[in-house]
């Protein structure tokens, strides 16, 4: 599904190398987690994969089902099935959440050469998906993320994911700013989307989230590289001992 090979990335504005050779392979239906200390490059990886400006890829590649992700505009990556759940979902005053969802869904369909969804079908779909995430009609009417609590914003990200049905989902610190109940709700939303054809890359600081969203593979990232890969037990090791031992091991 997602193949990242030897990815090197620096900041466009300053000569600072953030990713220094990331290699990662995620198969269809797999859930991978990336853990790592602050500043290790986790969020940069998610931004580069989704096409945010401000980064220069100096070496390496990233493909989604064989298609060169890095050559595509962000909207095309989305239409190909890539989805990033933002660590800080963006507030867009003046754009209603419903309008936003419908515009995004229809734009992707159009790009893929599919017919637009009818207003009636869309409404039915969005109500059904919103219900399971405990998103009420009022939240759907409000401008995108404006005045939403931290938990509401994250649930709104998962709603978008559920509506757009991507095949490769990246969750960038989706647990940040969530209380225990909200984390459970969000995780349930994610788990409901797990399927044989859909893969996840879950970026997190804490093992906690991985209690709810059980990964198949756990990677530890530090200083722009993946320094260790293992099973779910690796996350527990980090939780118990911190990153210091792992970092020392590598050095």
């Amino acid at each position: 599904m997602l193949e990242i090979k030897n990815l090197h990335v620096k900041l466009e504005e300053e000569d600072k190398q953030i990713l220094k050779g990331v290699t990662l392979s995620i198969g269809a239906g797999e859930v991978h987690a990336i853990m790592g200390p602050n500043g290790s490059g986790k969020s940069t990886l998610s931004y580069v994969l989704s096409g945010r400006d401000g980064y220069t890829v100096t070496d390496g590649s990233a493909t989604l089902d064989g298609a060169d992700l890095l050559a595509m505009d962000p909207e095309l990556r989305a239409a190909q099935g890539l989805f990033l759940a933002f660590q800080y979902p963006v507030e867009i005053p003046g754009v209603g959440n419903m309008t936003f969802l419908r515009t995004a869904l229809n734009a992707q369909r159009k790009t893929r050469g599919e017919p637009e969804i009818s207003a009636g079908d869309f409404l039915k779909l969005v109500r059904e998906k919103a219900k399971s995430l405990k998103i009420d009609a009022e939240m759907l009417k409000r401008p995108v993320n404006v005045g939403f609590s931290g938990g509401e914003k994250k649930r709104n990200e998962i709603l978008q994911m559920a509506m757009l049905e991507p095949k490769m989902c990246i969750l960038d610190e989706t647990d940040s700013g969530l209380d225990v109940d909200a984390m459970k709700l969000v995780s349930e939303g994610v788990n409901a989307l797990r399927s044989a054809g859909r893969s996840f890359l879950v970026i997190t600081h804490y093992q906690r989230l991985l209690d709810h969203i059980k990964p198949d593979v756990v990677h530890i990232m530090a200083a722009g590289r993946i320094i260790k890969t293992g099973g779910p037990e690796l996350a527990l090791e980090v939780e118990n001992n911190g990153y210091a031992d792992l970092l020392a091991e590598v050095k």
């Binding site: 096409g51 909207e75 003046g94 754009v95 515009t103 790009t111």
Partner: protein, 422 residues
């Protein structure tokens, strides 16, 4: 030559080609006296520093040589439809001037005995202090056409005026007087390019608890030079709501002069302007709170690209005794490139001690983070930009109460955006 004589000289030249119509003679005579005292604006005047009045002052009309876009809005609305061509009422193209609860007369047909004799020019005259508005006085003196609308009850339907431009040289002077009796209601729609050069005045006199809605779409016409004034006076508990969309126009100066004469009244005035290239758009607003517990809102937004210039001069004056005033003012510009310019002068002058007044003014580019967020969800760049531009203007459109009309305005904005993608 001193500044005063320059202005007087400019006036003489400007008036050379104009003839003063005969009806409403006393009001026109009084306006002429005001005008002679003021002369025409010059760039030295405090409120003309950001907008060069030369094209308005010139004896000759700058030809509007590009085709005007006369595409109709508000088509789906059941309204009394009236048409002006190059500033002159076209009876053949208009509905009958008959509407339950409303009497409508053409300015061109008004006799000196007409009810409007005591209204025509009255609010304009009051609006000359403390800031002179010579174009409005000239309009009162020289207006060749317009409508005198007296509303005694709830108007059965909106009055919808379409201004078509056929000539590239017309110098139109249009003056409407709208008087709503206590408790009366009217919605006035205006649209269209109007004329190569347009001087437009509306005087709105609202009786107690009268409700007036005004939605104006200054049609797409790249060559138009326009100066417009709205003078409104509100009695107790009256409601005044005015929204203006300006898309294109070489020079547009929209002035609004609003006075609260009775308590508990509300006036909201909003403007959305979009310009690409040779576009100079000026909103100059003066709101006077002279009564208690009134609420005023000024919401002005401009989208500017390729060297377009936006100006906002907005003032809230709270007079002594106008306690519990709630005044709000926001002016913002979205600059789509580095060539465009926004000049803003917000002013508050407050002589009462128990009031709530706030104002804000910003200019900036499209938010990159929001743009990326939309694109990451699959919305293509252009569509994402358009969505964010419409979102930026949303607060102005929110001032339109009728959702059908708001939707028409939104559609007009979308059309404009689609044509100006590059």
């Amino acid at each position: 030559m001193g500044a005063v004589s320059v202005k007087a000289e400019a006036l003489v030249q400007r008036l050379a080609g104009l003839a003063r119509p005969s009806g409403l003679a006393a009001a026109r005579e009084a306006a002429m006296a005001r005008l002679t005292g003021m002369g025409l604006p010059s760039k030295r005047d405090e409120y003309w520093q950001y907008t060069d009045p030369a094209a308005l002052n010139a004896a000759e009309v700058k030809p509007a040589d590009k085709e005007a876009d006369n595409t109709a809005l508000f088509g789906g609305l059941d309204a009394v439809k009236l048409v002006f061509v190059d500033g002159v009422f076209d009876a053949g193209a208009s509905d009958d001037l008959a509407l339950t609860g409303v009497s409508i007369t053409r300015v061109a047909h008004a006799l000196d005995t007409h009810w409007a004799q005591t209204s025509y020019g009255t609010l304009e005259a009051l609006g000359q202090s403390p800031i002179a508005r010579p174009w409005a006085a000239l309009n009162t003196a020289y207006a060749t056409d317009g409508l005198l609308i007296h509303v005694t009850g709830k108007a059965a339907k909106p009055i919808s005026i379409t201004y078509l431009r056929h000539s590239a040289h017309a110098d139109a002077i249009v003056h409407h007087v709208i008087k709503l009796d206590a408790g009366a209601e009217l919605t006035l729609l205006e649209q269209g390019p109007a004329a190569a050069r347009l001087n437009h005045v509306i005087e709105v006199d609202l009786g107690a608890a009268a409700r007036f809605h005004h939605i104006r779409a200054q049609g797409r016409d790249l060559g138009r030079h326009a100066v417009t004034h709205i003078f409104a006076q509100l009695a107790a508990e009256a409601l005044f709501k005015s929204f203006t969309l300006t898309a294109d126009g070489a020079l547009t100066r929209n002035e609004a002069v609003i006075t609260f004469a009775g308590p508990d009244a509300k006036a909201h005035i909003a403007g959305a302007a979009m310009g690409d290239g040779a576009f100079h758009h000026d909103d100059t607003v003066f709101v006077t709170h002279a009564a208690e517990r009134c609420e005023s809102r000024q919401v002005f937004k401009k989208v500017l690209k390729h060297g377009a210039v936006g100006v906002f001069q907005g003032k809230i004056l709270v007079k002594k005794g106008a306690q519990k005033t709630d005044g709000y003012q926001i002016s913002q510009a979205l600059l789509l490139d580095d060539d465009s310019q926004f000049l803003a002068k917000p002013e508050l002058e407050i002589y009462a001690d128990d009031v709530k007044c706030s104002h804000g003014s910003t200019s900036g580019a499209i938010d990159d983070t929001a743009l990326f967020y939309l694109r990451s969800r699959g919305v293509p760049l252009r569509a994402a930009q358009s969505l964010l531009i419409l979102a930026f203007l949303a607060d102005t459109i929110a001032e339109i109460e009728d959702e059908t009309i708001a939707e028409d305005i939104r559609a007009g904005l979308e059309t404009w955006l689609a044509r100006h993608e590059d």
